[in-house]
């Protein structure tokens, strides 16, 4: 099952890049995808078969614009801080807990955190995320949780778990 | 679409990207520590992807100035550059961490 999915993904990327269905292209794609599958199938994420469920794709389609909105907001925020003559930053490394369990979901959570307002994931230790925050404005753990992970967790749980 | 306007726009875009690359090079030259330089090199790689997409948009125009096609093969350069610069950054990060490469 894992091998079949890996093969299909590799072949799809190959065909999209060539944008042609000439028989040489397809033959080369099958050979290359078989090679990739043989070499890398043990690295393919374990829970990937769950992604065949269309409901997860529906939530992923909601997640993308939701994420892009926060991403653009984050960029404007950082841009203002960078251009401000006094550099109004209060940086530091804080710890937040996440309730997600699968490694795929945690990876995407960490990537989302890195691309949103002034936060950068430095390390993941089990359920704990170490996050570098460019502007620490609260000491309250609940508000920190809400600001950093709270807005992504519900959707990511529906997509990946 | 007007090919002359697109070309002027792309030339201006090139200037902005060159300015950004100059700032990255400043950080690479000055950067007090090795990670500063690594971050700057990573960013330079991402800027190169932007350069490649500017190059890919350079138009082949007909005589009346209507754009008929672009130079899409530059997008392959962009994809390859994005992936190789990512691998390079990961290797440098491992070196910074003080671990051996097969760990």
């Amino acid at each position: 099952m894992k091998a079949a999915m890996c093969f299909v993904v590799a072949l799809a990327v190959w065909l999209l890049l060539f944008w042609s269905l000439h028989w040489t292209v397809v033959l080369g794609g099958v050979l290359a995808a078989a090679l990739v599958t043989a070499l890398l199938v043990h690295r393919f994420p374990a829970g990937a078969a769950k992604m065949l469920n269309p409901r997860r794709w529906f939530f992923a389609a909601i997640y993308l614009p939701y994420f892009l909105y926060y991403c653009v907001k984050a960029n404007l925020d950082v841009a203002i801080r960078v251009l401000h003559p006094d550099l109004p930053i209060r940086p530091g490394i804080v710890k937040v807990r996440t309730h997600l369990s699968s490694s795929m979901a945690k990876t995407f959570l960490a990537n989302s955190i890195t691309l949103t307002p002034g936060t950068l994931t430095i390390d993941i230790d089990g359920q704990e995320l170490y996050v570098h925050w460019i502007n620490i404005h609260t000491q309250d753990p609940q508000r920190r949780y809400a600001e950093i992970v709270g807005r992504f967790e519900p959707l990511l749980r529906r997509i990946f778990e | 679409m007007n090919a002359a306007f697109l070309e002027g726009f792309l030339e201006a875009a090139m200037l902005v990207l060159v300015l950004g690359s100059a700032l990255c090079l400043y950080r690479i030259a000055r950067g007090p520590s090795a990670p500063d330089r690594t971050v700057a090199i990573d960013i330079l790689g991402t800027l190169m992807v932007a350069f490649c997409s500017v190059m890919a948009l350079w138009p082949h125009a007909q005589a009346d100035g209507k754009v008929v096609r672009f130079q899409e093969y530059f997008m392959i350069v962009a994809i390859a550059w994005a992936l190789t610069s990512f691998i390079g950054t990961l290797a440098l990060a491992k070196y910074l961490e003080g671990r051996s490469y097969d760990a």
Partner: protein, 115 residues
């Protein structure tokens, strides 16, 4: 119409790219620099690639597909790279800037180094 949108997206992407590079020069330590640079330059380059894709609509479909794939790769790889460099910097002993107000990673970093 589509071309006008593409021109605007392209312009905003360029502005973000430049802001990210200014942040790379102005901010005090490697973690803050990685923040500004990664976020702004990733989004800026993705917007440029999106604009490239929009220019390709109807004229050059292979370019559309390649630009979208490239944008996906940049969006996925760039935060991972920043995370790896910052973790490496911390474990390699680069201190936070003096204006930093909090640092809870010290103990965990020590544990990782002793493994």
């Amino acid at each position: 119409m589509l071309d006008t949108i593409a021109y605007w997206i392209f312009g905003v992407g360029l502005a973000f790219d430049l802001l990210g590079c200014i942040g790379l020069v102005r901010l005090p330590d490697v973690y803050n620099r990685a923040q500004a640079a990664t976020k702004c330059v990733t989004l800026g380059t993705c917007m440029i690639l999106l604009a490239t894709a929009l220019f390709g609509v109807g004229r050059d479909w292979p370019m559309f597909v390649k630009a979208m794939i490239c944008a996906a790769f940049v969006l996925l790889t760039s935060p991972v790279g920043a995370h790896a460099v910052c973790r490496g910097a911390y474990l390699g002993g680069v201190p936070l800037a003096d204006i930093s107000v909090e640092d809870v990673f010290v103990d965990r970093a020590e544990a990782i180094r002793n493994e």
